[in-house]
């Protein structure tokens, strides 16, 4: 039986200080992160003890493994009461969502991240020297993945998988899945990285991938990332770190992206997914699929036959449906399958019919309308601005958010759910315990990480509570206890019983 697919997203947001092109992005990111949490009270630090991004899933550790776990230790790094981590990574503000038990919740807490960035950026702009808060000094935060000038930054997905599953099997099955899923969940971008005659393409990220499998995330990016850092019991769990996806504004895209991937992983674990067609040149195929807005281009397989991305997706969808009908899938699977099939059917018939549902299609229509009305060339700065501003997190200025407000883009979750998730953790993962402890015992939490909380209750030593199972520590298990204990001392005394 497949391991429960606990999951979450981590997003490096684009950041730009209007009218101040020289403003240091690391400083701007720090201002944003610090502004959100600033109230002068004690703040728990992030606990790095279990982090080792240089450990490879293929069973070795890269030389140089004693470097600091992050290259930005000491920069703004906060833990939120919703269980998320909000910090500065590689000159970007990054929101790592709390662990969720299902794809719908993961969409809610991912969207909560946008709202957090929106509030944080507005607050931080007030601290930019000489900023007038409206134009110069205003901080623009975008949930995108490229500046269209050669730089890429990531949205990563994380899924708990069974440690016993051979990594090679994951790789064989996931490469054709990842190469093809972008037609349903790409965010779209103007231009390309190869000086090709491709004015607009499906994926923000596709052009930045160079190899099939590897440990790197910032250069020579691999389709399958082998970082082996489970943030959980390493004997039982692996955390699959998926780095090739686009950050989505569309909640439906986020939902299908996370849910379909979860189902594919479960089928692989249960040994019921027949070997997927193997691509002859996966990296090239990733880019060819992204460059073809008709979604009909064929890509070569190792047996010299050809396949389209749509056909590959049907392969995975049909097996996921069978898996679900046979009663092996989680209870959210029927709803997810309906959305997945709706997008895939639409893309097969006419991708451009999915305006308002899929990011790359919605953005394309918007751009095309400007081209038609104003006679613009696809290189026009105004179109590039629209490409960026589609991802602007501000609800009153971001173009995706304006499409939603005008009823032109469809949501999946409610703003009430998102509003709740800004402050509160998911109820049924260890993030609940982390978030509630941060909220209730903040002054006594010395540090916290994904798999532990360290309390300082004034004794000789700190007390560390390990959380090695992502599914343990939810409201059912710890809610009453936290409600009952007014101090961390009381909580710890009860936990030790």
């Amino acid at each position: 039986m497949a391991t429960h697919k606990y999951l979450g997203t981590e997003t490096e947001y684009g950041i730009s200080v209007v009218g101040r092109p020289d403003f240091n992005p690391v400083l701007a990111s720090s201002l944003v992160v610090n502004a959100y949490a600033a109230d002068g009270r004690h703040r728990a630090r992030w606990d790095y003890e279990e982090e080792n991004p240089l450990r490879d899933a293929r069973g070795f550790t890269q030389p140089g493994a004693h470097e600091p776990p992050e290259d930005d230790v000491g920069l703004a790094n906060t833990i939120l009461t919703n269980g998320a981590r909000f910090y500065v990574d590689h000159a970007h503000p990054e929101y790592s969502s709390p662990e969720c038990s299902n794809p719908y919740d993961a969409v809610v807490w991912d969207k909560a991240g946008e709202r957090i960035l929106e509030r944080a950026a507005a607050k931080a702009a007030q601290s930019i020297p000489d900023g007038d808060r409206t134009q110069a000094g205003r901080i623009v935060v975008s949930k995108n993945n490229t500046d269209g000038k050669g730089a890429a930054y990531g949205m990563h997905e994380n899924y708990i998988v069974d440690r016993g599953l051979p990594f090679g099997e994951l790789t064989r099955q996931l490469i054709p899945f990842f190469v093809s899923r972008q037609i349903l969940v790409g965010s779209g971008r103007i231009g390309n990285e190869f000086e090709l005659a491709v004015p607009y393409q499906i994926s923000q990220r596709a052009d930045f991938f160079e190899v099939e499998v590897g440990l790197e995330t910032t250069l020579k990016r691999p389709i399958i990332n082998t970082r082996d850092e489970p943030h959980a019991d390493p004997e039982r769990f692996r955390r699959l770190h998926v780095i090739l996806g686009d950050a989505n504004m569309s909640e439906i895209c986020t939902y299908v992206k996370l849910g379909s991937t979860s189902l594919v992983l479960s089928m692989i674990e249960d040994g019921v997914l027949p070997s997927a067609p193997q691509l002859a040149k996966p990296v090239q195929a990733l880019q060819q699929v992204s460059h073809d807005l008709s979604c009909t281009r064929t890509i070569p397989l190792t047996d010299d036959s050809q396949v389209t991305a749509v056909e590959l997706q049907w392969h995975f969808l049909e097996h996921a449906r069978k898996y679900t009908e046979e009663g092996h899938a989680p209870d959210w699977a029927p709803d997810l399958l309906a959305q997945w099939e709706h997008l895939l059917t639409g893309v097969e018939e006419d991708p451009l019919s999915l305006d308002g549902l899929i990011d790359w299609v919605s953005k394309y229509h918007l751009l095309q309308r400007y081209v038609d009305r104003d006679g613009l060339d696809w290189n026009d700065a105004k179109l590039k601005l629209i490409d960026y501003q589609y991802h602007d997190v501000r609800q009153d200025k971001g173009l995706y958010n304006r499409l939603v407000a005008g009823g032109r883009a469809k949501r999946l979750v409610t703003e009430e759910e998102v509003g709740h998730a800004i402050h509160s953790p998911p109820p049924d993962t260890r993030a609940y315990f982390r978030g509630r402890c941060l909220e209730k015992y903040r002054d006594q939490v010395a540090a916290a990480g994904w798999d532990s909380i360290i309390f300082d209750i004034g004794g000789e030593s700190l007390q560390r509570v390990p959380m090695m199972d992502p599914g343990r520590g939810g409201r059912e298990m710890t809610g009453d206890l936290i409600d009952r204990c007014s101090t961390a001392e009381e909580l710890l005394a009860n936990l030790q019983r």
């Binding site: 209007v18 990574d89 500046d147 730089a151 930054y153 910032t218 959305q339 005008g406 009823g407």
Partner: protein, 62 residues
């Protein structure tokens, strides 16, 4: 493992029906009134497109 009980729980029939309905309603997105839309977008676009685009330079990340 202990979590797996939750995984296998079946969705009640009624929910499945609701599910299908909700998937169908995804068709109903209003994409008419294109002129109105562009006028509205014009109102919120950053004022100086050239300058904004020129200055939008990001450091590479993960």
């Amino acid at each position: 493992m202990a979590d797996s009980e939750q995984v296998r729980k079946q969705r009640p029939k009624q929910d499945e029906e609701t599910t299908e309905e909700s998937a169908e309603t995804t068709e109903e997105v209003d994409t008419s009134d294109v002129d109105d839309l562009l006028d509205e977008i014009d109102d919120v676009l950053e004022e100086n497109a050239e300058e904004f685009v020129k200055n939008y330079v990001q450091k590479g990340g993960q």
